[in-house]
């Protein structure tokens, strides 16, 4: 088991002037302490509340987290979790036209897709 974090290790919202990646750290830190957050995150198990679900870390290679990045690729943090799940399922079935997302979506199950979508919602 992990020892409780010292109080000064947990940054409060706004400490980093709202930069998106600090909210990621913030969210992960809070989830470690408050497993109740899991209830909001559909599809995640007790042990993995603060963990990055399989595959999610790769997404931000193309899907920018930060603002002001010149790219036509949509940002995941702006999307609704259900819409993300539906999009991935539609890419996987071929129903939604894609250049590369069909090939990627085919590598993930429904549970994995739901976990990834829920995790990105937690990053806001």
């Amino acid at each position: 088991m992990v020892a409780p974090l010292p109080a000064n290790a947990v940054r409060k919202p706004g400490d980093h002037k709202g930069r998106p990646y600090s909210r990621v750290v913030n969210a992960a830190m809070k989830a470690r302490h408050a497993f109740m957050v899991m209830v909001v995150c559909a599809g995640m198990t007790a042990a993995s509340a603060a963990e990055v679900p399989p595959g999610a870390a790769s997404c931000t290679g193309c899907h920018a987290e930060k603002p002001n990045v010149d790219t036509p690729v949509p940002r995941l943090a702006e999307q609704d979790a259900n819409a993300m799940v539906a999009a991935m399922q539609a890419y996987r079935s071929g129903q939604r036209p894609a250049t590369v997302m069909d090939r990627i979506a085919k590598g993930f199950s429904d549970d994995e897709i739901k976990a990834i979508a829920a995790w990105f919602v937690m990053q806001r």
């Binding site: 290790a9 992960a28 399989p54 899907h63 930060k66 590369v100 090939r103 990627i104 993930f108």
Partner: protein, 403 residues
């Protein structure tokens, strides 16, 4: 299964990352994100990183070198201690790294991400001195600009010769992208010139896509595979000749991409095997040869996962999460990851290969039914869109790491 931490809980585990490229810089930054308690030091001699992806456009006079350059300021602001020194020695037992300035860093876990080193003992005649005359440009920076300037200075009508090695090497698709973009440069600026590509291989990634595009766009490009006598056998940098199994070519410009191996520090650490690359555990990227040392990026033998910048960044994020758990005696999560490699056959014509990978029986394997290459028959609009996504990817990934 996972060793108990050496430290009392609440202490700050020390992680040293050697190599500030796509893998190492990502690992350092994401280690801090995974757990701010970690004391993370990034060892990288160069104060400015020159990115390889899209450097082929610089070589082909389509892009400014400044678009490839990134500093480490934001990584430092994120809480990583950045040491602009070379790692000159390391002791896996004592768990220390010695830097060029004599400083010694103690670590609880070490991450090596030294990239690929060019082998100057592999192709007869091609040593470090020859590379100043016949650039490899397979590490970005001065070599990129050297090759670009040589192409610009070349008289129209001269022959450009490229040589490509056998697998494995850093980013094979990029070598075919380079052939494409050099052909593009010649077609537009030196129309009487041609490009000969001497290949130690018969097959390569996205081959049908490249060959279809070359047929449509580049009559000035001749690819000579090994079975047609194209295997590179040696060079004479003074005479500017390049030899293959069947022929010797006089090159106005020669781009030699020699065989490669893991960066030197990986060898010094004892993490490289006889292939010259580093076997690792897929879940944690921990070396199979030296406990407590993780190897990322090109240097690692990662099963089906290619040696690409995208994969280096994705693997580094997985490894960072794993190390953050391991130092506190916790089990890392079961990972899965995605790779997507874009190649530009022309500035507005992009193609891609993707893969989804998971660890199976100690190896990274492709998830069946997923991944693959861009459709062979696709309209020009599709190719334009992939070119735009390629540019977007570069901006996004470099922003994630350095921005």
């Amino acid at each position: 299964m996972f060793p108990l931490p050496l430290l009392a809980q609440g202490a700050q585990p020390r992680i040293v990352v050697i190599g500030g490229g796509f893998a190492g810089a990502t690992a350092a930054r994401f280690l801090k994100r995974a757990d701010p308690r970690l004391n993370v030091t990034l060892v990288e001699p160069n104060p400015v990183f020159a990115a390889c992806p899209f450097s082929n456009e610089v070589i082909a006079s389509l892009r400014d070198m400044r678009a490839q350059l990134f500093g480490y300021d934001r990584i430092a602001t994120a809480g990583v201690v950045v040491a602009h020194q070379a790692a000159t020695a390391l002791d896996g037992q004592a768990r220390t790294v010695t830097l060029g300035n004599g400083a010694k860093l103690a670590y609880d876990r070490l991450v090596l991400a030294p990239g690929s080193d060019l082998r100057f003992d592999a192709l007869p005649g091609y040593d470090a001195a020859a590379a100043e005359r016949m650039p490899h440009a397979w590490k970005a920076g001065e070599q990129t600009l050297l090759l670009r300037r040589q192409l610009e200075a070349m008289e129209d009508g001269g022959t450009v010769v490229m040589t490509l090695p056998a697998l494995p090497y850093r980013c094979p698709p990029a070598s075919y992208e380079r052939a494409s973009l050099i052909a593009h440069y010649l077609k537009t600026k030196k129309p009487r010139s041609k490009l000969v590509v001497l290949d130690a291989k018969d097959t390569f990634s996205m081959q049908r896509l490249f060959e279809n595009a070359w047929q449509e766009l580049y009559p000035n490009l001749e690819w000579v595979p090994v079975s047609s006598g194209g295997n590179p056998t040696g060079v004479d940098a003074a005479a500017m000749t390049v030899s293959s199994d069947f022929d010797t070519y006089k090159a106005a410009v020669a781009n030699i991409i020699p065989p490669q191996k893991a960066g030197r520090i990986a060898e010094l650490a004892g993490t490289a095997d006889r292939t010259g690359w580093c076997p690792v555990d897929p879940v944690t990227f921990e070396s199979r040869l030296v406990p407590g040392i993780h190897v990322l990026g090109d240097a690692a033998i990662a099963g089906a996962v290619p040696k690409s910048a995208f994969a280096a960044n994705a693997a580094a994020k997985i490894c960072a999460s794993a190390v953050a758990k391991l130092v506190f005696g916790e089990a890392p999560a079961a990972p899965k990851f995605v790779n997507t490699c874009y190649s530009l056959v022309a500035p507005d014509y992009g193609i891609s290969i993707a893969g989804v990978y998971q660890p199976v029986n100690g190896q990274w394997l492709e998830v069946e039914g997923a991944g693959g290459i861009s459709p062979v028959d696709a309209p020009r609009a599709f190719r334009n869109q992939e070119a735009k996504f390629a540019n977007g990817w570069f901006n996004t990934i470099t922003s994630e790491i350095f921005g």
